[in-house]
């Protein structure tokens, strides 16, 4: 039977992840990256690979540790607590999930091995507008000879500025879902990448494709059937992102409770005021409830992936609401200091806002739930 608590392996993974990240990537490290204008630290990425994290979803045949989605989510959750910035979700979660479905293809197998070893990063070039909507893809992949020619614009491609390769979603037919997924190097002729200056200081790019050549070899899976490989990858990314946001919520909440226990006004600790106590208790409850949806999403993806869509949308929808509440309460309860750049709470607020939008916000996932439920 599905059990929503951590097993022994997962508890060890969380403990070792926390120990490592507290040392190697506390929030100060994020501030250093932001100040230096860098999206992530390649040395940290290499260390994460040495720990097996980049291969958490890569089969053992390709050198991964293959621990499953629940474990990947736990890693993302720990990263969220101290705002670790890396291509983990794009590469180790989404690209790995897409490619492992076609792992009998030697090229995909090789890519998976390089993801596990930390030698290859990916970005998913899906959206073309301001909201997540893969089914609205307009970019064309025109058949030319034995191959394709890709032309169009992708925007808000997370990790798109730094990724070595891109998984590109393009239209190959008129039917709504006649889409094909291409795996191409990010520096191929005809690709222009323009950095987007995001509020969370992380990597996001607008990418234009001007007659970019792709061969049949570059197709991931089958022509016109992108969604069969992409859907599991999207779900994996959405769940991991929801986990990151829940970790982020816990991180912001921890700072807030500490502040309530040390800040004095009117001669008393502000944590003695019932108005603040009850709000803190409500927020704690909210994080606990969302944590259950994250655990459930991981278990469903590992044990019953065909039916995991509801569990994943539930986790992402709730994580969006929780993260929003956690950072708003975080700033409000800190008062003026919460508004300063010198204090970390603003980083949590800005990351929470970006993470809400990426891969579908509350409204997107509420709509998915409504459709599944038949409303």
């Amino acid at each position: 039977m599905t059990n929503l608590t951590l097993n022994e392996d997962e508890t060890m993974l969380v403990d070792s992840a926390r120990g490592f990240l507290d040392e190697a990537s506390p929030v100060e490290k994020f501030r250093e990256l932001r100040d230096a204008g860098k999206a992530y630290n390649p040395e940290l990425w290499k260390q994460m690979a040495d720990l097996g994290w980049t291969g958490v979803l890569v089969p053992e045949d390709q050198g991964g540790i293959d621990m499953g989605h629940a474990a990947a989510n736990l890693l993302a959750q720990e990263m969220g607590k101290t705002l670790v910035s890396s291509p983990f979700i794009s590469t180790a979660v989404m690209a790995a999930t897409a490619l492992r479905q076609v792992a009998d293809n030697p090229r995909a197998a090789e890519a998976l091995a390089k993801i596990a070893s930390g030698d290859l990063t990916y970005a998913l070039a899906l959206d073309e507008g301001v909201k997540h909507a893969p089914s609205k893809t307009q970019m064309q992949a025109e058949r030319v000879g034995n191959g394709f020619s890709l032309s169009g614009e992708k925007t808000f491609v997370v990790d798109g500025g730094s990724a070595d390769r891109l998984l590109v979603l393009a239209r190959t037919g008129d039917a709504d879902d006649a889409l094909t997924l291409f795996d191409i190097p990010a520096d191929r002729d005809g690709i222009t990448r323009t950095a987007q200056n995001m509020i969370d200081a992380r990597d996001s790019a607008q990418i234009s494709f001007d007659g970019v050549e792709a061969t049949g070899e570059d197709v991931v899976g089958t022509v016109d059937q992108a969604m069969s490989v992409l859907n599991p990858a999207l779900r994996a990314g959405q769940a991991a992102l929801a986990a990151e946001m829940t970790g982020l919520s816990s991180g912001a909440f921890g700072m807030t409770v500490s502040y309530l226990q040390e800040r004095k006004q009117f001669g008393v600790l502000i944590g003695q005021f019932q108005a603040l106590q009850h709000r803190a208790a409500h927020l704690w409850s909210d994080i606990e409830v969302t944590t259950s949806t994250i655990a459930n999403a991981g278990r469903m993806m590992d044990e019953d992936p065909e039916n995991a869509a509801l569990a994943v949308s539930l986790a992402k929808a709730r994580a969006c609401q929780t993260a929003k509440l956690a950072v708003m309460e975080g700033v409000q309860m800190h008062g003026g200091i919460g508004m300063t750049d010198a204090f970390d709470m603003g980083f949590f607020m800005k990351r929470a806002r970006v993470a809400q939008e990426w891969l579908g916000d509350y409204g997107y996932h509420a709509e998915q739930i409504a459709k599944i439920k038949g409303y």
């Binding site: 039977m1 059990n3 929503l4 608590t5 409770v257 309530l260 226990q261 600790l269 944590g271 003695q272 019932q274 106590q277 009850h278 803190a280 208790a281 409500h282 704690w284 409850s285 606990e288 409830v289 969302t290 944590t291 259950s292 949806t293 655990a295 459930n296 539930l314 929808a317 709730r318 509420a366 739930i369 409504a370 439920k373 409303y375």
Partner: protein
């Protein structure tokens, strides 16, 4: 014990086969409304032969209290086996065979604090639905501040002489026995002078008076004790340490009110309310609220499951159960506001097509008061879980 508990797959198959053979078709109607509950007790009138048959066949096999030890009338199931049992009941839309305060509250407290003799004496009649219990906790001067109870028990050698008044005693007029918080040391600090006593509601000096509520129903009573003699062996735990038992029991009560006690509890479905009222979900605000409530309902249910898994793994949930109570009851109120809105004017009639919906809606308003108010729950969380200063 007709089930092979050593092999999970075989176990499920056997449960399924047993249900197919033993669960009457009438008990597979998915009815989880208050009127369909089998409470049991000396004065219980079964609503149908099927209800009686279903209770008896489950009781014979320990399935009214599946996780209790077999020697006390349970089936000795572990957490995973209980999940299989409940999921198989759900699969065929079966009603629970028996629900009671004995199962939800007194039983767990007795299993934890009672002597072997007390368990043998009190638990099996609960599992067979023969004795119905009520809870004597609140008093006119002890609501949220429960430890201020004033009902007193004087030591008379072989018995306590109990005098005082309880209030909000659920179904006291229908119950056979009561478990009550009685002050047995008036000089001790308020938490240290309370004993947890059990006595028969037919004892001389016990009387009850139902309280009519805004829903028109009278599920709660005032209960009066006038020189009630309670034998000395009818105490759970140690004299004057009844607060420990009370607190332990409250965590179970909170889980029950949150919707976790029965392990199911989805209750009324929005689709059915809409159908009964001839309404649909085309209105934007109604649809939005329906989805939001669905998200909350699934999330809270998963949290109840997660906490139960945690408890089964030996990690107590403790004060965090206050969160289940808070989240579950606030959600239940919100859902019933949605149901009333979906039902429109049809749901404004006491006897309309939506049945007991208006009474149920009013009843939910007590959910966030009984068993500790939402505000008390938040205070428990802030002080005992978060460690904020008092």
């Amino acid at each position: 014990m007709p089930f092979d508990t050593t092999n999970p797959e075989k176990f499920r198959a056997e449960i399924r086969a047993w249900l197919a053979e033993n669960c009457p078709a009438e008990m597979q109607d998915g009815d989880t409304t208050a009127d369909s509950i089998c409470w049991g007790g000396r004065n219980w009138t079964f609503q149908s032969d099927a209800q009686k048959q279903w209770l008896n066949v489950c009781a014979e096999n320990g399935l009214t209290c599946p996780t209790w030890p077999q020697e006390y009338g349970g089936a000795g199931f572990d957490r995973d086996q209980e999940k299989v049992w409940l999921s198989e009941l759900d699969r065929i839309n079966a009603r629970l065979p028996l629900q009671s305060f004995g199962i939800w509250m007194l039983g767990p407290a007795l299993l934890h604090f009672g002597s072997h003799e007390q368990k043998l004496h009190y638990l099996p009649p609960i599992t067979r639905g023969e004795i119905r219990w009520c809870q004597g906790y609140s008093e006119p001067g002890a609501g949220s501040d429960l430890a201020s109870v004033q009902s007193k028990g004087e030591d008379k050698g072989d018995h306590w002489l109990v005098n005082g008044q309880k209030v909000w005693t659920s179904y006291a007029d229908k119950a056979d026995w009561i478990f009550a918080l009685i002050r047995t040391d008036k000089d001790a600090p308020k938490h240290k002078g309370i004993s947890f006593l059990l006595f028969d509601m037919q004892s001389g000096g016990v009387s009850t008076r139902p309280i009519k509520l805004i829903s028109g129903a009278s599920p709660f009573c005032e209960t009066f004790f006038d020189d009630v003699k309670v034998p000395k062996d009818q105490i759970v735990g140690t004299e004057n340490r009844g607060w420990d038992v009370a607190k332990y029991l409250l965590t179970h009560e909170r889980e029950m009110i949150s919707g976790g006690g029965s392990g199911r509890g989805a209750g009324r479905s929005l689709a059915k309310v809409l159908a009964d009222a001839g309404h649909d979900l085309s209105e934007a605000s109604l649809r939005t609220e329906a989805i939001a409530c669905d998200i909350e309902e699934m999330s809270v249910a998963l949290t109840i499951e997660r906490y139960k898994d945690q408890a089964a793994g030996g990690k107590g949930v403790g004060d965090a159960s206050a969160m289940l109570k808070y989240a579950g009851t606030e959600l239940n109120k919100r859902k019933h506001e949605l149901f009333m809105s979906a039902g429109g004017s049809e749901a404004l009639q006491w006897d309309g097509a939506t049945g007991s919906l208006p009474a149920d809606w009013l009843r939910t308003k007590a959910n966030s008061i009984e068993g500790g108010t939402s505000e008390v729950m938040l205070s428990i969380i802030s002080k005992r879980v978060l460690g904020l200063p008092g």
